[in-house]
């Protein structure tokens, strides 16, 4: 492997890296795809589900492909505002989402990423597992200028390449080393833990009101991470449930919360307990998500270098994997263009930046750019809203001895007692954006 030369080397074989490698290989570029784990996906975590429409931009009708490890097609999406023993539920079930071309598929990353990287290999990319890149290698292009010309592996071997694509994931250590990304602050990331709980398919379908092969996802706010801003969630896989909980790292750390304890407490909630009853814990995972948002997006290209996926902090609301794929695609297109011109400078690779900046997700990130600041200023907003709507719902549904008019007056008084109405409205609006509802 040492001192080989490729058109492109891709650091990281997750959704961004595998996409870039797949599409470049299809374009007849020579590609080395580096994975630090034993196999792609073995260190990765999602809630979660992959969105069909972006994925189809890369592999049309992917659901027909051989051995693709999709779990369930999601037909039902719910958001629960959870309080101690109650929940206000919003949701939508659409059977059309269970039919081609689908909307989302639940996946498990250790299977999915492994399969996806194999598609890149089939297209001609060379995959190196157990392969940790520790540094970038530069090549002088002038008196004062240089370009990235490959990566150095632990042990000192070098893989040379005309273009390096950093798809190294959330930590983004090489991206930081290259000076493109600032070190994240603990208020600019969330920390999530997850368990995979095994449960027979029939039970899953009964409990979540699904037909065979259909899936559901439930996001929950309030109780799961109170008193911090965060989320709990449950996704249905073929024969298991994924249950996650987590929130902003500075709040977890600052309020003395332990993620595993949050998960245990969440699993004991009376409305959650019933959904997971009898399920056997099979896996435990944890990971950070970069949440600096629009204001913290790194510099995306340099001479000979492109940054994609989580390394580029491409996270918008609940979406990350599909944005990783989209940026992987853009990176492959820019790299192919650069190779055709045999020019790899920043201004040529800037076509990548252009594609990212005109994307739908860049627009979304831009319009949600104040979320992080808001949620760290008002760290109890999720919890307060969840509590308020549950208190109101109890009043609303209670069969009491008051007139309807008196009940409404009382409910309004209670709401205003909690906090000014304007603040509540703002909490709800920011909340809806953050949960990916708006």
């Amino acid at each position: 492997m040492g001192n080989d030369r490729y058109n492109a080397v891709v650091v990281g074989a997750g959704p961004a890296g595998a996409t870039a490698a797949l599409l470049m290989a299809r374009n007849n570029l020579s590609v080395a795809l580096l994975e630090r784990g034993k196999y792609p996906g073995c260190k990765n975590m999602t809630g979660g589900a992959i969105a069909s429409m972006p994925f189809q931009q890369i592999l049309p009708e992917y659901w027909n492909l051989e051995d693709i490890p999709l779990e369930r097609r999601v037909v039902s999406d719910e958001l629960w505002l959870l309080n101690n023993d109650s929940a206000v539920r919003m949701g939508f079930t659409g059977k059309t989402f269970g039919k081609i071309p689908y909307n989302k598929h639940t996946i498990l990353r250790h299977r999915f990423d492994n399969w996806y990287a194999r598609q890149a290999v089939k297209a001609g990319a060379k995959l190196f597992n157990n392969c940790l890149a520790v540094d970038l290698v530069y090549h002088k292009t002038g008196l004062l200028s240089k370009k990235v010309d490959g990566v150095m592996l632990e042990g000192g071997d070098v893989i040379h390449a005309d273009v390096v694509i950093l798809a190294e994931g959330a930590q983004g250590s090489l991206t930081q080393k290259a000076g493109l990304r600032k070190r994240l602050k603990p208020n600019e990331m969330t920390l999530y833990v997850k368990e995979v709980l095994e449960l027979p398919a029939g039970k899953i379908e009964d409990r979540f009101n699904l037909e065979r092969g259909e899936g559901a996802s439930i996001g929950m706010i309030g109780y799961p991470t109170s008193p911090a801003i965060g989320k709990g969630g449950i996704w249905t896989n073929k024969e298991s449930l994924s249950i996650i909980v987590g929130g902003y790292l500075n709040q977890i750390s600052g309020k003395g919360l332990n993620p595993l304890q949050l998960l245990e407490r969440y699993k004991r909630h009376p409305l959650v307990k019933r959904l997971i009853e009898g399920a056997r814990p099979a896996k435990y995972l944890g990971h950070i998500i970069p949440k600096g948002g629009f204001n913290k997006i790194p510099t995306l290209v340099d001479d000979g270098l492109i940054v994609a996926g989580d390394a580029a902090e491409m996270i918008s609301g609940r979406r990350g994997m599909d944005l990783a794929m989209m940026t992987g695609k853009f990176a492959a297109e820019a790299a192919a263009q650069a190779c055709a011109l045999d020019r790899y400078s920043r201004d040529i690779l800037a076509s990548y930046e252009g594609r990212v900046k005109s994307s739908f997700f860049y627009q979304n990130m831009k319009s949600h750019k104040d979320a992080e600041a808001y949620f760290n200023k008002y760290q109890d907003s999720d919890f307060l809203i969840a509590k308020a709507v549950n208190d109101l719902a109890y009043k609303f549904f209670e069969q009491n001895l008051e007139s309807d008019k008196n009940n409404i007056v009382k409910m309004a008084e209670e709401l205003i007692d909690m906090q000014p109405l304007g603040k509540s409205a703002k909490d709800i609006l920011f909340g809806l954006q953050n949960w990916g509802v708006l």
Partner: protein, 93 residues
């Protein structure tokens, strides 16, 4: 919330880890943990309990690490040096 108790079930029973022979986590300056850090948040925000406090110093069980990536950022004194374990080592989900 129930108290943090080492006797509670160990989540690592559900995790496969192939530990590297060399540690990949270091405390930069032990003195900071003793003299400046009051709450030792690493002992609770770490999801796999890599860190614990014993005999006036932070102990680092790097073989328990699931590589979530949080610890260097969560430390209020930027006192944790964390890097990836060697290729092929570490957590295998």
């Amino acid at each position: 919330m129930s108290s943090f108790n080492k006797a509670q079930r160990d989540p690592l029973d559900l995790v496969t880890i192939i530990p590297d022979e060399k540690p990949h986590i270091f405390i930069k300056d032990d003195k900071i943990c003793i003299t400046q850090c009051e709450n030792k948040p690493c002992t609770y925000y770490c999801p796999s309990r890599v860190y614990y406090w014993e005999d006036d110093s932070i102990k680092v069980l790097y073989k328990r690490c699931i590589e979530c990536g949080a610890c260097p950022y969560g430390c209020p004194y930027d006192n944790i040096a964390w890097q990836f374990p060697g290729g092929g080592y570490g957590v295998v989900y």
